[in-house]
Amino acid sequence: MSKTVQYLSQIAAYLQVPSGKITFDSFSLPVRTHNNTSVTGFLNIILAYLKESKLDVLLGKTPEDKAEIYQWIEYADLYLQRPNASQIINEHLPRLNGVLLKKTYLASNKLTIADVVLYYVLLSVMANISHIEKEKFVNISRWYDNLQQDDLLRQGNSLINFNTSFLCIIAPAHH
């Protein structure tokens, strides 16, 4: 549950809007309160942030774009927030890797809020998978590496190394 708060704060920080006060209702749905209005639901809150940030370019242009974006955010909300890392690595990363074989970004052809959301939700997983796994999920690595070059998105987290052309995993740093 606390991860939800973290993801929403990061997304709000990226969009440069106040994250507001985030609490959870009796169904454990996240509720964001700001300026005396509340919205409930992960996707709902993100939409509210987008509206305030006026960065609706991140919502894509066409209804198809929007639908794809909603789909990814709901996917992240449903399946990527609570399970543990190994479930993500075994079930979801292969799926994501397959999708990204054909696509440069998750929804439409530009960076959208879907990529942003998944960047944050997957950050701790991506930072900790082994190099072999990064090589295996080559499309995710490409997509993620591209995303993390944007400083605004990365928010000071260190760059994850996707360079898999050296042999050992436990190597001390190169001298």
Binding site: Q16, Y105, G156
Partner: protein
């Protein structure tokens, strides 16, 4: 890794491998290198080259107007001249005397110098890729730029700071953070290549804008 003429099967194969871990040919945003290569492809890459196909679909989603705005990027072609000249001539033929920056203009005087430079860049790129991996040491820095008082024009200050350009310096996001008494400090991020940019020098450059800047501090410094 470089790739050869993408109109050949072998070149296309290399191109596909090249794009396995890259979204774009050069760097992380679309550049003219992508446009050039795109134009030189005679047909859509087959499904057996999924990365090339992905890239192709992606680049084709940009309109021509958008493509014009891409920055110049170095294109690690092996055989560059033949493919780059063609677009230049079609452009001229279309009678475009528009005010867009004609990025292909230099190709008109395609001469030994340009070829030499390109070959050099190519070699440097190939060398870089073939050696044992050396990441360019970069650092992400957050600077706190403090004004004299609450009357300082923060917008002008930000413009001045961003106007500082150095090789290996990229400015990032910024925001105003209140310090107290109505004074705001400008917190601005940048990414620098350690080998090229001296942080002290950068600080001095910023402090040169004495009208706006009282002092500059490093709020955060992370190696990346």
């Amino acid at each position: 890794m470089t790739f050869g003429d993408v109109t050949t099967e072998q070149g296309l194969k290399e191109f596909n491998s090249y794009l396995e871990d890259k979204s774009y040919i050069y760097g992380f945003i679309p550049t003219q290198a992508d446009v050039d290569t795109f134009k030189s492809l005679k047909k859509i890459p087959a499904g057996s080259y999924p990365h090339a196909l992905r890239w192709y679909n992606h680049i084709s989603s940009f309109s021509d107007a958008e493509k014009k705005t891409f920055a110049v990027g170095s294109c690690p072609f092996k055989s560059a001249p033949a493919t780059i000249q063609a677009p230049a001539s079609t452009k001229k033929a279309a009678g475009d005397d528009d005010d867009d920056v004609d990025l292909f203009a230099s190709d008109e005087e395609e001469d030994a110098e340009a070829i030499r430079i390109r070959e050099e860049r190519l070699k440097a790129y190939a060398d870089k890729k073939s050696k044992k991996p050396e990441l360019i040491a970069k650092s992400s820095i957050v600077l706190d730029v403090k004004p004299w008082d609450d009357e300082t024009d923060m917008k002008k200050m930000e413009e001045s700071v961003r106007s500082i350009g150095m090789d290996g310096l990229i400015w990032g996001a910024s925001k105003l953070v209140p310090v107290g008494y109505g004074i705001n400090k400008l917190q601005i991020m940048c990414v620098v290549e350690d080998a090229k940019v001296s942080v002290d020098l950068l600080q001095e450059e910023i402090e040169k804008f004495e009208d706006f800047v009282q002092s500059v501090d490093i709020a955060a410094f992370n190696k990346i």
